[in-house]
């Protein structure tokens, strides 16, 4: 039985939040995912996912500064909470375990 449940999309978004550090807000996250992962995830989807992450306690937010390019509007900046950090690490660990179980010879075959 898994204790935490982190969907694949949620994981991607949360990782991006962690990667962007202080400048993680919805628009920047969407653009980063678009540029770096080449995945076209729509803005509303990211927005909803962020809200859900916050509800689950994996992320927290506070209102941050406004800039001219966004019409003087404030932005909501996200950071990863302790629970979020744990969840991310757990995800990574689970994956690492699975990676470890693949025989090295097989991986070498893939690489070849």
């Amino acid at each position: 039985m898994k204790r935490v449940f982190l969907g694949e999309l949620e994981e991607v978004v949360l990782l991006t939040v962690a990667a962007l550090q202080e400048s993680a807000y919805c628009a920047s996250i969407t653009q980063t995912i678009d540029q770096q992962m080449g995945r076209n995830i729509s803005f509303p989807t990211v927005h909803t996912t962020l809200q859900r992450l916050e509800e689950k306690g994996f992320a927290s937010s506070q209102m941050g500064g406004a800039t001219a390019e966004r019409g003087g509007r404030q932005k909501r900046l996200f950071i990863v909470t302790a629970a979020g950090q744990r969840a991310l690490m757990e995800c990574r660990q689970v994956r690492a375990q699975l990676w470890d179980q693949i025989p090295i010879s097989v991986i070498q075959l893939w690489g070849a």
């Binding site: 449940f5 807000y25 919805c26 628009a27 920047s28 969407t30 653009q31 678009d34 729509s42 803005f43 509303p44 927005h47 909803t48 809200q51 916050e54 509800e55 689950k56 306690g57 209102m63 406004a66 800039t67 001219a68 390019e69 966004r70 019409g71 003087g72 509007r73 404030q74 932005k75 909501r76």
Partner: protein, 923 residues
């Protein structure tokens, strides 16, 4: 970033309406960040995907982020400590769980049984609404099915010809041939004439001749007719059957009627006599059409017959100024030719045949519209497009009223079910499950109602047979079933949506505590609004039916200016469709010719009838004072006057005409008893129109009544109505011309005459008729009945409105009754306490009823202007009409309130009279 941007380089802004939408419907507290983020995203998209896509993405994002589509929650207090399974189902709101279905149906069924009254009201109301929809659907699908089955029917047109934009309903005799020669773009031109004739089959079954009266199915047609309207030929063929003179083509049904069950090939060559003198040979038999058509002829005589028979005299095929209403033409365009291209050729066409300043106009009208346009082509019964649309709207409204009842009753009842929903939710039922449950309950009721409606269909058809067009039959075919399924689906969704939503939103924690008065009693407002809506519709119909009723009373009871009782007009009952409006030359030749042979005989018949017992007076006339027939002259005036010419309408009769109809002479004297006097009577209006304010001054002046004739005025007659009240009466002249007076009017001594004696008398008249006109069918009509017949359409409208009023009022009151039962039940304890504290029965009655009175008054305020608008428009169709007085609206309001109080009053009284001890002891 953040650099200075000059105006020129400023990137295009996101769509302003989308920005506005987001600002209005953004989830609470999120506007700032969303607007900012989206603006940033927009600039990003501009750079990466270009302007159109950026705008598109912006709009999509806004639409997904605004309420009610957003998933955003403004309260952040959702608790995620529930087991995972619950969370997952919560995310998918409309998961359908088949396992629960039997349970839903069982509960639904139990509920229906427990609340018998509500179920009954709901099912009855819905069934009534659906039944109305079904009947009107059948009528509409019938009316819209006309002439849509012909091959290339979009290339078939008829010609709407007339003078100065008026409609003749026919074309000049030589026009089809001329069109064929002079107008390009026509593939086929087919002229045909409608004709009325009796039929004789010389060698019937026992060697005796068989006769048939005319049934309106005879046409005289060119062979091209069958090029345009395709038939399956059982014998003969389209190309040759109608080319020779004196040949006729029959449909299989007609052939069976005339010759019995013979093989079509054996019918070829048989002889038929039309009008006892036109001998024709059958040259073809075609299969009957199965589709509905306005061109429902079933016997076609060849056009080539006209020049070689007596028809030559009756049907003028030369001469552009002789307009005969039987003359019709159908055309088929060459492929890819537009009707406007033909229309463009008509002005030159008109110039060629009507001189340099032609008043003649013509247009093509498509076949598909013919059924709805009485003013052009076709011989069949016409339907009215506005009436058809109105009927559909009425059906829709009645169904909506029934749905409103359903919504009202189920939301009112929902409080009682709050606990059930609470328990369901606690046990893991989610919002979607509860919605599915209520939809299935609605579905159950709707299916019951649809079943009931289908059962009601046949009886309804027989009860309202006279309101339903003849060709419509109640039948359950694929289309009907599909329609019923659609209605079921629509009704279920409309009626179930609101209750399902409201009930799904109940919070278990609140309802299980027993607090049923859920906050947000906006439902009460909704219910009141729906009641107002229902009564607005009902009041519209009540007012409409009052207005139509009063106009019809006015029309039928106004003194017409002459006596109408006990007068019989002999001859065939006349066609009620208005013919071409009076053209002086129109039928002159034909009437003269007919008249000369008929006048003598008619005089003999008149004398014979005069001698019958029970006949008070007999006169010869052209037509009764009132009727659809109209002949006149648009250039009337005083002799040698240069005033603007006036319209005058002709009536013919001798010195007996006035006393026979009891018309009053206001100046001068009656016509003199002589067949050769040249004098006339004019109506008061005519005298005024000629410029005499004192009508007696007109006596002796010469009046121009045709391009060739002037007559001196002998007297002035009090005004009388010469047409239905839909059309204004023209200035009238009455003149004696024996050749025109071929109709006989008989006044019966009604005093002391029984129905049996009347029958004998008419039998005697018929015998006299047969003796003198052996070949012609005998027909008669009572003048007062034929006057009422002129308003057959209006009387039908009145009946339809009354039925619609009855149904809407009934459904509205049904709903009101349900609500009244419900609210008095719920307020039983309150009423008990009030009574214990000293409230009177009347006080409680007022308390229970005043809200409804208030709601109906609001409905009256909304309905009155709407009703005024519609009824004002309807009354414009009459030249003579009643005023739309305020009392009609007051009376309608009073009637609605009265009916509503009767409905509610009984319940209120029962509640008010109940013993408070009983109601207070419950619980």
């Amino acid at each position: 970033m953040g650099s200075l941007i000059t105006d020129d380089e400023r990137p295009p802004e996101p769509p302003r309406w989308a920005v506005w939408l987001l600002s209005q419907f953004c989830p609470e507290g999120l506007e700032d960040e969303l607007q900012g983020d989206l603006l940033e995203m927009y600039t990003y998209w501009l750079k990466t995907v270009g302007v159109p896509k950026a705008r598109w993405r912006y709009i999509l994002a806004v639409l997904r982020l605004i309420r009610p589509f957003t998933w955003s929650r403004t309260s952040q207090n959702n608790d995620y400590t529930h087991p995972e399974s619950l969370r997952r189902t919560d995310r998918a709101t409309f998961i359908f769980q088949p396992a629960m279905l039997p349970n839903y149906l069982k509960i639904a069924f139990r509920n229906l049984i427990r609340n018998k009254i509500y179920s009954f009201i709901n099912v009855l109301g819905l069934a009534l609404g659906i039944c109305v929809c079904l009947v009107i659907y059948l009528i509409a699908s019938y009316e819209f099915s006309f002439d849509d089955f012909h091959p290339d029917h979009d290339r078939i047109f008829c010609v709407d010809a007339g003078m100065r934009g008026g409609h003749w309903n026919c074309v000049p005799g030589p026009m089809p041939a001329a069109m064929r020669r002079e107008i390009t773009g026509l593939q086929t031109v087919a002229a045909f004439q409608t004709y009325v004739a009796s039929v004789t089959i010389p060698d019937g079954q026992n060697g005796k001749p068989k006769s048939f009266d005319d049934d309106g199915s005879l046409a005289i047609a060119e062979p091209q007719y069958f090029d345009i309207f395709r038939y399956r030929w059982l014998s003969g063929n389209a190309a040759t059957s109608l080319t020779m003179p004196n040949s006729v083509v029959l449909t299989a049904a007609k052939a069976r009627k005339y010759f019995g069950d013979l093989d079509p090939d054996r019918i070829i060559g048989r002889t038929i006599y039309y009008q006892d003198s036109l001998m024709v040979t059958v040259t073809g038999v075609v299969a009957d059409w199965t589709g509905n058509s306005d061109f429902n002829f079933s016997q076609w005589i060849s056009y080539a017959t006209i020049p070689v028979s007596f028809l030559k005299g009756e049907i003028p095929l030369d001469g552009w100024d002789k307009i005969k209403s039987s003359s019709q033409v159908m055309i088929k365009l060459v492929e890819n030719v537009k009707p406007s291209q033909i229309d463009a050729q008509f002005p030159t066409f008109a110039k060629r045949h009507y001189g340099s300043q032609p008043a003649f106009t013509a247009h093509l009208k498509p076949l598909s519209g013919i059924h709805f346009h009485p003013e052009y082509g076709g011989a069949g019964r016409k339907a009215s497009l506005p009436v058809s649309y109105t009927l559909m709207a009425v059906a829709g409204f009645i169904l909506i009223l029934a749905i409103v009842n359903f919504v009202n009753l189920s939301t009112a009842q929902s409080m009682q079910r709050a606990r059930e929903i609470g328990v369901r939710k606690v046990l893991g039922g989610n919002r979607s499950g509860i919605a599915v449950q209520f939809f299935s309950e609605t579905l159950l009721l709707t299916v019951a109602a649809v079943g009931l409606a289908a059962l009601m269909g046949r009886p309804v058809f027989s009860v309202f047979a006279d309101l339903i067009p003849g060709g419509v039959h109640f039948r359950v075919d694929g289309g009907t079933v599909l329609f019923l399924l659609l209605v079921t689906a629509a009704t279920t969704l409309l009626a179930g949506f609101y209750p399902a939503k409201v009930l799904g939103n109940y919070q278990p924690t609140v309802t299980l505590k027993g607090i049923t008065a859920v906050p947000g009693s906006g439902k009460g407002a909704l219910r009141r609004g729906l009641i107002v809506f229902q009564f607005t519709i009902s009041l519209l119909f009540i007012i409409a039916s009052f207005v139509i009723g009063s106009q019809l009373r006015y029309v039928l009871q106004t003194n017409l200016g002459f006596k109408t009782d006990a007068i019989i007009t002999l001859g065939r009952p006349r066609d009620n469709r208005p013919g071409p409006m009076g053209f002086f030359q129109s039928d002159k030749i034909r009437t003269r010719q007919l008249a000369t042979e008929k006048t003598g005989k008619t005089a003999v018949l008149t004398d014979k009838i005069r001698q019958l017992a029970g006949v008070e007076q007999v006169i010869r006339e052209w037509k009764p004072p009132i009727g659809q027939d109209h002949r006149g002259f648009e250039g009337g005036g005083l002799k040698n006057s240069n005033e603007k010419p006036i319209n005058i309408s002709y009536h013919y009769g001798n010195e007996d005409y006035l006393p026979f109809y009891g018309m009053k002479l206001v100046a001068g004297r009656n016509l003199l008893p002589s067949d050769s006097t040249r004098e006339l009577l004019i109506s008061e209006t005519c005298a005024h129109a000629l410029g005499f304010s004192d009508v007696s001054k007109a006596i002796g002046r010469e009046v121009v009544i045709s391009p060739f004739d002037t007559y001196p005025v002998a007297g002035v007659v009090a005004d009388f109505y010469e047409n239905s009240f839909h059309q204004a009466t023209w200035p009238i002249i009455i003149r004696h011309d024996p050749t025109q007076e071929a109709t006989i009017a008989v006044k019966i001594a009604t005093k002391g005459m029984t129905a049996g004696e009347l029958k004998t008398l008419i039998g005697n008249i018929e015998q006299a008729w047969k003796a003198i006109f052996p070949g012609q069918p005998f027909g008669y009509s009572f003048l007062d009945e034929s006057i009422a017949n002129m308003y057959a359409d209006d009387i039908r409208t009145e009946r339809l409105t009354n039925v619609a009023m009855g149904i809407t009022v009934f459904i509205s009151c049904l709903g009101l009754l349900g609500l009244a039962i419900f609210s008095t039940e719920r307020r039983a304890r309150e009423i008990g306490i009030r009574k214990v504290l000293g409230a009177t029965v009347s006080g409680i009655m007022v308390m229970l009823c005043k809200e409804i009175v208030l709601l109906i008054l609001i409905a009256l305020l909304i309905a009155s202007p709407l009703a005024w608008y519609f009824m004002h428009g309807w009354l414009q169709g009459f030249a003579y009409r009643t005023a739309l007085s305020g009392w009609i609206f007051v009376a309608a309001g009073a009637a609605a309130i009265g009916i509503a109080l009767l409905t509610v009053g009984f319940q209120a009284m029962r509640a008010a009279m109940a013993n408070p001890v009983k109601s207070l002891r419950t619980e």
